[in-house]
Amino acid sequence: MKRRGLSLAELMVASFCFLLIMFSTVALMDFVRRSGARARAQIEPRQQCRSFLGLLANDLRSASYVYEGFNGTLLGNPVTVPTAGNRGQALVFAVPQDETPDPNYVLTVIFVRNRTKPDSKNPNTREIVYHRFDPVKSSPPATPGALDPAAMTGGSTRLFDAYVPPGATNFGFDMAANSQGVGVDVRFQMQPERGQLQSESFHSYLTLRNNV
């Protein structure tokens, strides 16, 4: 049998096909990767918990006052902030917005409520509400405790769809006895359409920096 090898035309056609397949594969993989990431970002409660903790860390460290023991209705939800040395499921604090002795304060409220998106696989799970009210000044100056959280208006809400299961152990704030720090616990638990139950707990301890 005579072996002729590949002709130039065959080689070019094979190379063209190879390149076509390669580019298609790369494009396909990239599309799948991006779609997966998008999907994960939308539904991944782990990521939601991390984002929540990251935002809270930055805000709470900058805060100058925590409304310990506040008990009232905010954004239509009952909110009870723990007192020093105790644990609760809501937090309200004031963050100064500038370095003047009479600054504007942004009051921030955090609590959990039942998820707004129905999910038969995960009934009774909760989402985290993170709301910043419009900036206000206190009277007398620099006494944010004189501000009434229930009288705050406006602002913007960010929801963290974190699939927090019911129960005080799954979401809570531990107020330090000296009121200078807050321990934060968040746990998510999600049963996906397919596959195993997902769950993870996060804990962080945050100290207020704008104090002695």
């Binding site: 390669m22 993989m29 007398p140 002695v212």
Partner: protein, 637 residues
């Protein structure tokens, strides 16, 4: 069979796909790993910057919050030798770079124990401190681990401690020891503020020579600002002694505003939650709480009042801020080894409250001025205990500072020292990490060694008039007085398991069953009754005499730094004759050895008055101690 290159084509197709998949997976793993490492480095840099910021603020406190690395523009270096340069007294590991920033660095090869993160990567921080505008400070700090940098800033504001008529770096009990007390000026406590007027006498049955007021206790506070970072408490004092009755009134809106009563026992509000204070359920109410009741004059930690940091104890120790400033031209430093002069004499007497012999350098202000050695820039720093005499008329503004006890004898910085009718009072301050005592003209060094039991007090002290119209027996102390002792400075009251001298309960008068509110440190038996020989008030005042016919008038400020280092409970390390003597500790008071001043309210006189002197702010004495409050912290990148 004819082979047409099928396998080759397959190989060409499959191999790149496999390679691509491996590449993708590898890239994903590397990216995730890189992000994780990056987050870890970022976190490390964040905390290194935090450490730098904390170190910078600590050093700032040792500099009395009054020293900088840069000019207000934040970029021009403060040159070496400039008195306002930030001095790292207590941070010897810092070096100053050519750009003026202070730096700390750890590099691979340095001792691992010195590394902050233990990461093995080069790390460090640098910071600058400056005042963008007067009274407003900014610290910028950069933390670095490897190539990762975290930049943070902290803003804050300063106030002179002398802006307050009474400033306490802890729980304040200054308003618990007089039957009739007037306070005029701003007041602040970093802890709780107890508003419970009460006499510190309590032995009238046992010692007929002691006269007590018969009118109800009264505390009047005329102030634009009464703030406590803790609570304001009306129903008891710092030692749990309940409100015995009386009236507390605080001006509304300003010092000139109408007095509004803070309800206590005599107003029908008995005990926690009933007395009108921080524990009252309406305290924070926006329509009937403390803010509307006193027009913003009164606020506490619940309403957002923050602590104000005071200068560190280091600032008053040898080598610290005041010591270094005393080396500047026109200032003066005194040490225990200095020889006597025409204006300074070594004197020894006995401090019965501390139960120890004291050797002081007695400074005669008038003789000092005559000798031409009164410090022209107004600062004296002493590492020896001081006693100031002949200080009724000051030649100039002055700050007398020390890490030891400061005594004044007779008047200090009088308004009218010579009867000319002209106000000659100047700005003056007594600043110590220990205690300040005020003695009368009749204090006798030789007699001080004789102990007089509580049942038989010493003769009444006298302070003769200086001229015909000068009031007799009025001791005038016009100064800012800064001390460093804890709220409880009498060991019988220090409730600590390690304190064998703690006395559990107060003494009850066996004749009438009345709780005296004081503790009996030593007792004797008279006619079958147990009576105290030595007594202890929890917050003894700086007196050592029987002041029953004297009145002490003070205009200025009282500042309690609460940074003093207390001796062992047996005071062995506070005794100069012991091998364990530490000159930098303060002894516990073993007893209260004074009988408080008495001024007859029926004659319109009050037992204690604290009046703020605005001159301490408008024309302050040199080297004022500052208080600092943080305003804003944030991450810059």
């Amino acid at each position: 069979m004819k082979k047409r290159g099928f396998l080759l084509a397959m190989a060409l197709l499959v191999l790149p796909i496999a390679a691509l998949m491996i590449f993708s997976v590898s890239r994903l793993v590397l990216t995730e790993s890189g992000m994780s490492m990056q987050a870890q480095r970022k976190m490390r840099a964040f905390y290194v910057a935090q450490a730098g910021l904390a170190a910078a603020y600590h050093g700032f406190g040792a500099n009395n919050y009054n020293a900088v690395t840069h000019e207000p523009d934040g970029s021009t270096n403060v040159p070496a030798g400039d008195p306002k340069l930030y001095n790292p007294y207590n941070l010897p590991f810092l070096t100053r770079a050519a750009d003026g920033w202070y730096t700390w660095a750890w590099n691979p090869g340095d001792p691992v124990a010195n590394s902050f993160t233990g990461s093995g990567q080069a790390e460090g921080y640098r910071f600058q401190v400056y005042f963008p505008d007067p009274g407003h400070w900014r610290i910028v700090c950069e933390g670095r681990v490897g190539a990762m940098v975290s930049r943070q800033e902290q803003w804050g504001e300063l106030r002179s401690a002398y802006e307050y008529v009474d400033f306490d770096n802890g729980d304040t009990s200054d308003f618990n020891m007089a039957e009739n007390h007037l306070v005029e000026g701003p007041v602040h406590a970093n802890g709780n503020m107890y508003l419970r007027p009460w006499s510190t006498l309590g032995f009238k049955i046992l010692t007929t020579t002691i006269v007590e007021p018969v009118t109800p206790a009264q505390l009047n506070m005329k102030s634009s600002s009464i703030t406590a970072a803790g609570k304001i408490i009306r129903y008891e004092d710092a030692w749990g002694r309940q409100d015995p009755g009386g009236t507390v009134s605080i001006s509304r809106g300003s010092a000139a505003g109408p007095l509004v009563i803070m309800e206590g026992r005599d107003q029908g509000a008995v005990g926690a939650g009933n007395a009108y204070d921080s524990d009252h359920p309406l305290w924070k109410d926006t329509s009937s709480g403390a803010i509307p009741k006193w027009g913003g004059t009164v606020s506490d930690g619940q309403l957002g009042v923050k602590k104000r940091a005071v200068p560190l104890r280091d600032s008053l120790l040898p080598g610290g801020y005041y010591d270094q400033k005393s080396a500047l031209p026109g200032n003066l430093k005194i040490t225990p080894g200095d020889a006597d002069t025409a204006w300074m004499h070594t004197k020894t007497f006995y401090n019965q409250a501390e139960d120890r012999q004291v050797t002081v350098k007695e400074i005669d202000i008038a003789a000092m001025n005559a000798a031409g050695v009164f410090p022209s820039n107004g600062l004296i720093y002493s590492t020896a205990p001081l006693r100031i005499v002949n200080g009724a008329k000051l030649p100039g503004p002055i700050t007398i500072s020390s890490d030891q006890t400061i005594y004044t004898k007779s008047d200090f910085n009088m308004v009218d020292p010579d009867g000319s009718g002209v106000d000659q009072k100047l700005s003056a301050a007594l600043v110590t990490s220990d205690r300040v005592y005020n003695l009368t003209d009749s204090f006798n060094d030789a007699d001080s060694f004789t102990f007089h039991p509580a049942t038989s007090p010493p003769a009444k002290a006298v302070d003769p008039p200086r001229y015909a119209t000068d009031k007799p027996n009025v001791v005038e102390i016009n100064a800012a007085v800064v001390d460093g002792q804890p709220t409880t400075n009498v060991r019988a009251w220090a409730n600590d398991a390690a304190n064998p001298y703690f006395v559990p309960s107060t003494y009850v008068n066996p004749l009438n069953g009345e709780d005296t509110g004081a503790k009996a440190v030593a007792t004797t038996s008279i006619l079958g009754l147990t009576v105290p020989v030595k007594i202890a008030y929890p917050n003894s005042m700086g007196y050592l005499e029987n002041l029953q016919q004297c009145q002490v008038v003070q205009h200025g400020s009282v500042v309690h730094l609460r940074t003093g280092k207390m001796a062992r409970y047996d005071n062995a390390d506070a005794d100069p004759t012991n091998a364990s003597y530490d000159p930098l500790v303060s002894p516990w008071l073993t007893k209260s050895y004074y009988i408080p001043p008495y001024a007859d309210p029926s004659l319109g006189l009050i037992t204690r008055q604290q009046i703020h002197d605005p001159r301490l702010v408008t024309q302050p004495p040199p080297f004022v101690p500052f208080t600092s409050r943080k305003l804003l912290w944030r991450v810059l990148n």
